[in-house]
């Protein structure tokens, strides 16, 4: 993989840099840097390859941007510290996550571990055991506690998380449908995996509570090529809304068959498929109006504490540099560095693990994804961030990318401004 290769080679360069600073510490003159107080080692783990690599796609660019930025070092209490970043790829594999945690915490002896990966638990556990501060994101807080038997009251000694709640997502879905005035009949279907089954349980309970009629389409296996049964069930059950956790290729097949069968829907809100632009693009010109959860987009009124970029400038820079469209995880890929660097600065002594840990716990910072507040959080070790609902709209002719995502409903996060009103599917095209 070229991705892995560039990262590895950059690592070599960094090792070279580290050796250079080591030489500087021995008293040799260094031309580029002022005499440094030492080197802070930061480990970074992300899902760069493997089945969940969609979520890590923007990370290499973000980390590169951070590396350039931290090349000058970080100033803490008047001392300039060099920064060495060790990037590792979890390959979307929990076993590898554990061994990477071991490698970075025990062997490389990092001062801070950052994990932007949904399966962070094994690495965070090693942080807690060894007393190394660890910050994670892109992982809902329910599994963050559940995975290692923690609770919001006890928290964890050295590991932290900032992200939104899985329960909020379902409140947002249902809240959006209620606000839209669409007939409350919801067809549901889910991938047969942990996320699909979890979403299914939560959704069924919440639909019943909110007096929606559920037309169940069941949980299906990954190898399925045909959704005519689900389409027939939704049509005969009078579903006006379709939801679920479905991968893009499955949804594309489903939607083709739904249209063939004359299934008329007012809203299609799918987790997973529509988080990324590629999931909408696979529908050809039928992607406008698809709705999903939004936790970062380019219209947000937030700026980075590290680069001063607005969300818009940040996304544009990414699109210019890579030729690819911005994607939601990139906000959090950046924010985890904002949180980490802010904590190191606030600690006063980046080599003092307990001081860094206390600095994270006392942090309240306005990042590119909005406020990350550990200080006033009612839950130990966790800062909750917002999640809203949004819809994909076609971009004007001549744009670089065919679709753009806008926030339409802010059910659980009224402080996030909506960007466009919610529209029924029939109002598109």
């Amino acid at each position: 993989m070229t991705k892995g290769f560039t990262l590895t080679s950059r690592r070599h360069v960094l090792k070279g840099l580290a050796a250079g600073t080591g030489a500087a510490a021995l008293g040799l003159p260094s031309i580029t840097h002022a005499r440094s107080a030492g080197t802070i080692r930061i480990g970074y783990i992300d899902q760069l390859t493997g089945i969940r690599s969609d979520f890590g796609q923007t990370a290499p660019w973000v980390v590169e941007q951070i590396e350039t930025l931290l090349d000058e070092g970080i100033e803490i209490n008047g001392d300039v510290w060099d920064v060495e970043i060790l990037v590792r790829d979890s390959q979307s594999d929990p076993n590898r996550m554990g061994s990477l945690g071991n490698e970075l915490v025990l062997r490389e002896n990092v001062d801070l571990l950052l994990v932007a990966d949904g399966l962070a638990a094994p690495a965070l556990e090693i942080c807690d055991q060894n007393g190394t501060p660890g910050i994670s994101t892109i992982l809902q807080w329910e599994p963050f506690y559940a995975a290692r038997g923690g609770t919001p009251e006890t928290g964890y000694p050295y590991s932290f998380l900032f992200f939104w709640s899985g329960a909020d997502i379902i409140k947002n879905y249902i809240g959006m449908w209620q606000e839209s005035g669409i007939d409350p009949a919801v067809g549901t279907f889910y991938e047969d995996n942990d996320f699909g089954r979890g979403f299914s349980e939560g959704m069924t309970a919440s639909l019943a509570e909110a007096n929606f009629t559920e037309v169940p389409g069941g949980i299906f296996k990954e190898q399925v090529d045909d959704f005519s049964n689900q389409v027939a069930a939704f049509r005969d059950g009078g579903a006006k809304i379709v939801t679920g956790l479905v991968f893009p290729q499955h949804f594309a097949t489903f939607y083709g068959q739904a249209r063939q069968a004359g299934l008329k829907l007012d809203a299609v809100s799918i987790a997973a498929a529509f988080v990324f632009p590629s999931g909408v693009e696979v529908l050809g010109d039928q992607g406008a109006g698809m709705s999903t959860e939004v936790w970062f987009n380019r219209q947000l009124p937030y700026t980075s504490t590290l680069t001063g970029q607005t969300a818009e400038e940040f996304c544009t820079a990414y699109e210019k540099a890579t030729g690819k469209q911005w994607a939601q995880p990139m906000g959090y890929h950046h924010a985890i560095w904002e949180v980490g660097v802010a904590a190191l600065k606030a600690s006063g002594d980046p080599k003092n693990r307990d001081a860094v840990r206390d600095a994270i716990a006392g942090l309240e910072i306005d990042t590119i994804v909005g406020k990350v507040d550990f200080k006033n959080s009612p839950m130990k070790s966790v800062a909750t961030t917002w999640v809203t609902m949004g819809q994909w709209h076609k971009t004007p002719e001549g744009s670089a990318f065919p679709y753009e995502l806008y926030v339409t409903n802010n059910v659980t996060a009224p402080h996030v401004p909506t960007q466009k009103p919610f529209q029924k599917l029939s109002e598109f095209n």
Binding site: M1, T2, I51, S53, D54, F189, D192, G217, G218, I219, F220, K221, Q223, V224, D225, D226, S228, N229, Q230, A232, D236, F247, P248, Q249, A252, T253, G256, Q257, R259, Q260, A261, G262, S278, G279, V282, G284, Q286
Partner: protein, 287 residues
């Protein structure tokens, strides 16, 4: 009525499954070659289709023609430069060779196109439907079934009545003896592999129009192809076609009863038929 609709949809899907199996069955029938890379060739052809669609005149559906031609030529080159070298009494080298090709192909596709799912955009055709006898059917699945039937019939007639068809059948019967009549069986094998890959390529493109695919879809496609060939019976075109239909209908009926374990019933049907008649449906009919 809803059950009739399920069965009809199953047959529409099954026709395409039959086409997926045809290339594999044809290569095995003529050359006794098990092409383990079949599934990944199907996916590669779909990628080729995605690439060629913007240049296809009249209608995107016609992209199957250039893709089939490219695959035909590729099949001949593949057979003559690689597979012919490992043919012999032993089956293993040929299986290892195609297995290796499958791995190379899959990883090359991930490297070039990334792991995102892709689909061939056939415009509005994908979303059109029509009513017939109280049933609502999609236009595209019906067109795809039509193409599958036409290809089966064309191959059947060509094998039966053309000179080349006779030579291929004779080579399939005994590739040593045909050499006495001046037939270079290696050249015939090249053409047979070309045809096998062209058929698979059409199946791959049609699958990509009906649904979508990722570079990792090859393994699922190969499984379907094997099941179709085994259910249908080796060496019988219409047996394979029936095999595809049976697999498609079984899957959809079972998926209707239970969305999460439906696919298993397709595999069970495969086992039952293998148990009752090791030569598939064709063997059952012949007996």
């Amino acid at each position: 009525m809803i059950w009739v609709e399920t069965v009809v949809n199953g047959m529409l899907l099954g026709g395409l499954y039959a086409l997926v199996g045809l290339g594999l069955g044809y290569a095995f029938g003529v050359m006794k070659i098990v092409n383990v890379a079949q599934g990944d060739f199907i996916v590669a052809a779909a990628f080729l289709g995605v690439f060629l669609v913007p240049w296809t005149p009249v209608h995107p559906l016609l992209v199957i023609v250039p893709v089939a031609i490219v695959s035909f030529v590729f099949g001949i080159i593949l057979q003559r430069t690689m597979i012919n070298r490992v043919l012999g009494q032993d089956q293993i080298p040929q299986i290892l060779l195609t297995f290796g090709m499958a791995i190379v192909l899959r990883n090359a596709m991930v490297e070039i196109y990334g792991a995102n799912s892709q689909s061939i955009d056939v415009g509005n055709l994908r979303f059109m439907g029509f009513d017939v006898l109280g049933l609502r059917l999609g236009v595209l699945p019906v067109v795809i079934l039509g193409i599958a039937v036409a290809l089966f019939a064309a191959l059947h007639l060509w094998m039966r009545h053309s000179r080349m068809g006779r030579i291929i059948r004779a080579t399939a019967d005994d590739h040593q003896v045909v050499q006495l009549s001046g037939v270079n069986y290696r050249r015939v094998y090249g053409i047979a592999m070309g045809i096998a890959l062209a058929l698979s390529a059409v199946a791959g493109v049609l699958l990509a129009m009906r649904g979508s695919f990722t570079p990792y879809s090859g393994a699922d496609r190969l499984l379907i192809a094997f099941e179709v060939v085994v259910i249908g019976g080796l060496g019988s075109f219409w047996g394979m076609f029936a095999g595809g239909l049976i697999l498609g209908v079984t899957q959809l009926v079972a998926l209707k009863l239970d969305p999460s374990s439906g696919l298993m019933w397709g595999h069970l049907m495969f086992l039952v038929i293998l148990f009752l008649s090791p030569n598939g449906i064709a063997g059952l009919v012949r007996r």
